[in-house]
């Protein structure tokens, strides 16, 4: 008999020393963190920051956000992407919301290029936290890509009034370009989560 999928369980409140140890000051090397782009990585440097908000609009202090993205040329560092990511860019980041004074997640990365002729530039996101029994999938799009976003097949599958929950707002700050992207777990403006 074919085996069946192992069910998901919550990441719980105490993931930090196992999954994000360096960020939280535990003596174990992290496999990934907040900084995706070393100095030799090609592309526009950006920061992505936001909070995870619960159904009462309170910021969640024990969420973990993972991002997976293409490099500045739209290539994934994965064997299935035959074009090859040739920039030394791994494309994966992982951050807990428990160390920032404002309970934000903050990633320093490069803006991904378009991965194919159809999809607008985007970052793939997994959301995990205590109280979330199954991780949630979402995407980050970019507010300065309005034309590409208008043609994007994933955004097209989303009811128009909810698309804005997937678009990070670009702001110029003294430190560089920042995209703000809050993740709302519930409510009127609940972030769109995907069945993929």
């Amino acid at each position: 008999m074919a085996p069946k999928q192992t069910p998901s369980q919550t990441v719980g409140p105490f993931f930090a020393y196992g999954l994000t140890p360096e960020q939280y000051g535990y003596p174990l090397a992290s496999i990934a963190g907040a900084n995706l782009a070393g100095s030799d990585v090609h592309g526009e440097r950006i920061r992505i920051e936001g909070r995870v908000l619960d159904g009462e609009d309170n910021p969640v202090p024990d969420a973990m956000i993972e991002i997976w993205q293409a490099d500045g040329r739209g290539r994934y560092a994965h064997p299935l992407d035959a074009r090859g990511s040739n920039t030394g860019f791994k494309g994966f980041g992982r951050v807990g919301t428990g160390t920032d004074p404002e309970l934000r997640f903050v990633f320093d990365t490069v803006k991904p290029g378009a991965v194919d002729g159809r999809q607008a530039p985007h970052v793939n996101v997994v959301v995990l936290m205590r109280g979330l029994l199954l991780h949630a999938y979402t995407r980050i799009y970019f507010s300065d890509e309005a034309e590409a976003n208008a043609r994007d097949p994933v955004l097209a599958a989303v009811p128009p009034e909810r698309r804005s929950t997937l678009v990070a707002q670009r702001e110029a700050s003294p430190g560089g370009v920042v995209y703000r992207f809050d993740i709302r777990m519930q409510g009127e403006a609940e972030t769109v989560f995907f069945d993929v």
């Binding site: 074919a2 085996p3 069946k4 999928q5 192992t6 069910p7 998901s8 369980q9 919550t10 990441v11 409140p13 105490f14 993931f15 930090a16 020393y17 196992g18 999954l19 140890p21 939280y24 535990y26 174990l28 090397a29 496999i31 619960d54 159904g55 969640v60 024990d62 997976w68 994934y76 560092a77 994965h78 064997p79 299935l80 992407d81 791994k90 428990g98 991965v115 194919d116 999809q119 985007h122 793939n124 997994v126 936290m129 109280g131 979330l132 029994l133 199954l134 991780h135 949630a136 599958a157 989303v158 777990m185 519930q186 609940e190 972030t191 769109v192 989560f193 995907f194 069945d195 993929v196």
Partner: protein, 233 residues
């Protein structure tokens, strides 16, 4: 592209909001998930394997040791990571974290009044071999109380995190121990439908057990499987 992945098996997954598990009330999404096609963004995923694992990472008995062995019952936890066709998933990173034998996490926010073991850290990782097999050494984690309801206790468990070959195969779960009387009372375990939740319970194995050293438990993990059908273009 010749690859796509089978959908999530919703009959095996917990509900987004489960009244018995109180933290879900304000954190579980309430709107229906929106189906999207599987593109290169979903079919690829972070690649981590043996090169992400340090020599002591799979050995929780030694990786937090200062001057003595950690306290508790030594155990071996091993199993295979498979897809839904029963094919092994090789070179897959398996990350684990757990409480010590007293039921206390090293995590700074764990306030449970049970002793920290100065010789036990509780976090580790290993990677699967060509047959999809992983193996680590640890001590059996203790049960601990939590605030979900009056006299609530979590069963003994070990947290697992896996990527598998794509962003779609991501899995975070918990492994339990056979015969634990707390399972029947635990809202997190019970959040998974009957018939599926039993897959989260490891099996005691006398074959894995090492004489004079440690009891053995087996826990196989099944990730979403590939389909060989062409993707919609």
């Amino acid at each position: 592209m010749p690859v796509s992945y089978a959908p999530r098996d919703w009959s095996s997954q917990p509900r987004s909001i489960d009244p018995a598990y109180k933290s879900t009330a304000l954190r579980g999404p309430t709107k229906p998930l929106i189906p999207i096609p599987q593109s290169l963004s979903e079919l690829t995923g972070p690649v981590y394997g043996h090169d992400s694992v340090g020599p002591l990472d799979p050995d929780l008995i030694r990786n937090g040791r200062r001057d003595a062995e950690p306290l508790g019952e030594r155990i071996i936890v091993t199993g295979r990571v498979l897809d839904e066709a029963g094919r092994p998933v090789p070179n897959a990173l398996v990350e684990v974290w757990q409480a010590n034998s007293s039921g206390r996490y090293i995590h700074a926010t764990d306030q449970h009044d049970a002793p920290i073991d100065p010789n036990f850290f509780g976090g580790g990782r290993c990677a699967t071999d060509a047959e999809g097999r992983y193996r680590f050494l640890t001590v059996k984690p203790g049960a601990y109380p939590w605030g979900n309801h009056a006299n609530a206790w979590r069963p003994n468990h070990i947290h697992f995190s896996l990527f598998g070959p794509s962003f779609l195969t991501r899995l975070v779960t918990q492994m339990y121990f056979p015969g634990d009387p707390l399972l029947a009372l635990d809202p997190i375990y019970l959040s998974v439908p009957p018939g599926a939740r039993e897959r989260l319970v490891s099996r005691f194995s006398i074959d894995v057990t090492e004489p004079g050293y440690a009891l053995g438990y087996e826990f196989d993990i099944v990730l979403r499987g590939r389909r060989e059908t062409p993707m919609e273009d």
